[in-house]
């Protein structure tokens, strides 16, 4: 067994178990969470390096040979996603140190985060469809706990909506896996990829494909299944919202990309055309929803939806360039969006509210936060030289190459509207004078935050904001990585070989 592949799952799991054994000890939990996420970050970088040099690697759990046992596979796309998950975990844990109240910390906040990371890493690394379902559930149950923890009324209401929708997805997903097994007799994704080309009932395949599309579409908050996201993502503490926005919807997109590049590529015109339509509507509805919002976090939540549209656009176009654009965009949006959520958290801590109408004066009262907001906000809108510009450039070029002018137009218009939303936040929270407090109050409020908390909240934000700038300035290595990962997705021979061994293809 290749330990490198198993460790991203084992580390958060064992750290979580230790947390449960030492229930209620805040300081110890903090230490364990920090150790867990930083070692996860280390292992994830090692994994990324290894996969980049040696190509996709796989290991058979319990030494049951593939395709009968469960395999854990990492191709470049998985490795990148695990890396992003580790980065998010690390940043959110740091931010939590400064912002989460002691009650939640005592009540198993950190173990829930660790188990969530385990589920996310497992979902990124598994090569087995049913195992993916299990990782989804691991991830979900931790997210339910994080969402409901604290027991405020809004939290419980949000949790119920989120819970009901996610259980519905589980049922769809499970049914789809069952039907797929009935058609092919396989669950291993590499094996399925080969067997789906020669099934006896090809007319059933699109049905299953659409079931998967719906299940993962709800998870990813794609149009028309997005409504649960703005109803639930803004209720927990902002650290949790950041983690969810960075990882949970992205797992849905990841699963969709995996399934629609490896399994359902028989009728690309039909399935991927449908994805492209969904992508367009997702972008537009997300950004229009955001325009109407005056709550910092709800506005950003709607933008999550809009960004999901861009991710799906790359999948829908289904060329190497477009998939590379999606992967680049994924890296960019996880970093930039999380940074924005962290800004909203600090603004709330200082200004006392998430309501943009009541916030204000931050530009003069707190210039550092203004800079840290502008970087990811412009990046999200796609202003050069930040990371979002390159991500959108590649996607739009891919669209022009395949003559899909309509989606290109939609992407460009939505980009402008994103800029509008970001300037709205700028004008309301940073530029205008607040109706409820003065500039001096901001400085006082910042002073009032304990120094240690303050630094811990600012550190991950600075890290993410400089990353989005850095990726923008030296985009080429990241782009090359994305291109290579996309090539592996578009032509999964390497993946199949890694899982099933040599001589797979006749």
């Amino acid at each position: 067994m290749d330990m490198l592949l198993v460790l991203p799952i084992v580390i958060p799991f064992s750290m979580g178990i230790i947390c449960i054994a030492t229930w209620g000890q805040r300081q110890l939990h903090r230490l364990i969470a920090l150790a867990g996420t930083s070692s996860l970050l280390l292992i994830a970088s090692l994994l990324l390096l290894t996969v980049q040099q040696d190509g996709p690697i796989s290991t058979e759990v319990g030494n049951w040979p593939a395709p009968f046992g469960i395999v854990i596979v990492a191709d470049l796309f998985s490795a990148i996603m695990v890396m992003m998950a580790a980065l998010m975990g690390f940043c959110v844990v740091l931010f939590s140190f400064g912002s989460i109240d002691p009650q939640r910390e005592r009540f198993g906040y950190y173990p829930s985060i660790l188990f969530l990371l385990m589920g996310v890493c497992g979902a990124f690394l598994t090569g087995d469809l049913f195992n993916l379902y299990v990782w989804f559930e691991v991830m979900l149950i931790s997210s339910f706990v994080l969402l409901g923890m604290g027991g405020e009324r809004a939290q419980l209401e949000g949790a119920i909506k989120y819970f009901a929708l996610n259980l519905l997805i589980s049922a769809f997903f499970l049914s789809a896996v069952g039907i797929l097994y009935a058609i092919t007799g396989a669950l291993n994704m590499a094996d399925l990829s080969l067997k789906l080309q020669t099934v006896k009932q090809p007319e059933l395949v699109p049905v299953v494909a659409v079931l998967f599309l719906v299940a993962f579409g709800i998870k990813a908050a794609a149009f028309p299944f997005f409504f649960w996201l703005p109803a639930s993502y803004h209720v927990p503490p902002v650290a949790v919202t950041t983690l969810f926005s960075g990882l949970m919807t992205k797992v849905g997109v990841y699963a969709m990309i995996r399934v629609f590049t490896l399994l359902f590529t028989q009728q690309v015109g039909y399935t991927h055309g449908l994805i492209l339509v969904i992508a367009g509507f997702t972008m537009v509805t997300g950004v229009l929803g955001a325009m109407a919002q005056y709550d910092f976090r709800r506005l950003l939540s709607f933008h999550i939806i809009s960004q999901i549209g861009y991710l799906l656009m790359g999948l829908g176009l289904y060329t190497v360039t477009s998939l590379a654009g999606t992967i680049f965009f994924m890296v960019h949006v996880i970093i930039a969006k999380s940074a924005l959520f962290l800004v909203s958290g600090i603004a709330q801590r200082v200004g006392g509210t998430y309501d943009l109408k009541k916030l204000g004066s931050f530009y003069r009262g707190y210039p550092l936060l203004a800079v840290l907001f502008v970087l990811p906000a412009f990046s999200l809108a796609g202003i050069p030289p930040l990371s979002g510009f390159w991500a959108k450039l590649v996607l739009i070029r891919a669209g022009l190459e395949t003559d899909q002018y309509l989606i290109v137009l939609v992407a460009l218009v939505v980009s402008v509207l994103t800029l509008y939303s970001m300037t709205k936040i700028w004008a309301e929270a940073f530029w205008k004078d607040s109706p409820t407090y003065h500039e001096a109050d901001i400085e006082q409020a910042v002073e009032a935050i304990p120094r240690r908390d303050y630094r811990l909240m600012l550190l991950p934000l600075v890290l993410l904001a400089s990353l989005t700038l850095l990726i923008g300035l030296i985009a080429e290595p990241v782009m090359n990585l994305a291109l290579e990962a996309a090539a592996q997705l578009r032509n999964p021979d390497l993946y199949l070989q890694a899982v099933l061994g040599n001589g797979v293809r006749p």
Binding site: F130, E137, L156, E157, A159, A171, S175, Y181
Partner: protein, 116 residues
């Protein structure tokens, strides 16, 4: 037998979805439980229902004697039942807490997260 089960599964899906669309939280949970049963039964049925031996491989052979029942779907269902049980237990606690916090069982009254 498969035909009968097909109708049962269809009815379970329909009932589950209908219950989910009611306003009561308790019915929502009941609907989710029914949906879970429907998918489990679906997997059970699509694996083909045969009267056969258990898939045990006798000594000295490498495959079980035909006809045998496919063990994989049953393993899947077992896993799904366990997961479903955990989620349902969580759901009941969540509903109880939400009922205490909101003071009603009516989902239409839970609009605090939509407006603020």
């Amino acid at each position: 037998m498969a035909v009968v089960l097909a109708f049962v599964i269809g009815a379970l899906y329909a009932a589950g979805l209908y219950m989910m669309m009611r306003r009561s939280m308790v019915k929502l949970i009941a609907g989710l439980v029914l949906l879970g049963y429907a998918s489990n039964l679906l997997i059970f049925t699509v694996a083909r229902l045969t009267r056969a031996q258990p898939p045990l491989i006798p000594e000295g052979m490498t495959t079980p004697p035909e006809p045998f029942a496919d063990p994989v779907p049953q393993a899947l269902i077992l896993t799904a039942i366990v997961i479903g049980f955990g989620l349902q237990a969580f759901a009941l606690v969540l509903v109880k807490r939400a009922y205490q916090a909101v003071g009603t069982d009516d989902l239409d009254k839970m609009k605090a997260t939509d407006t603020t």
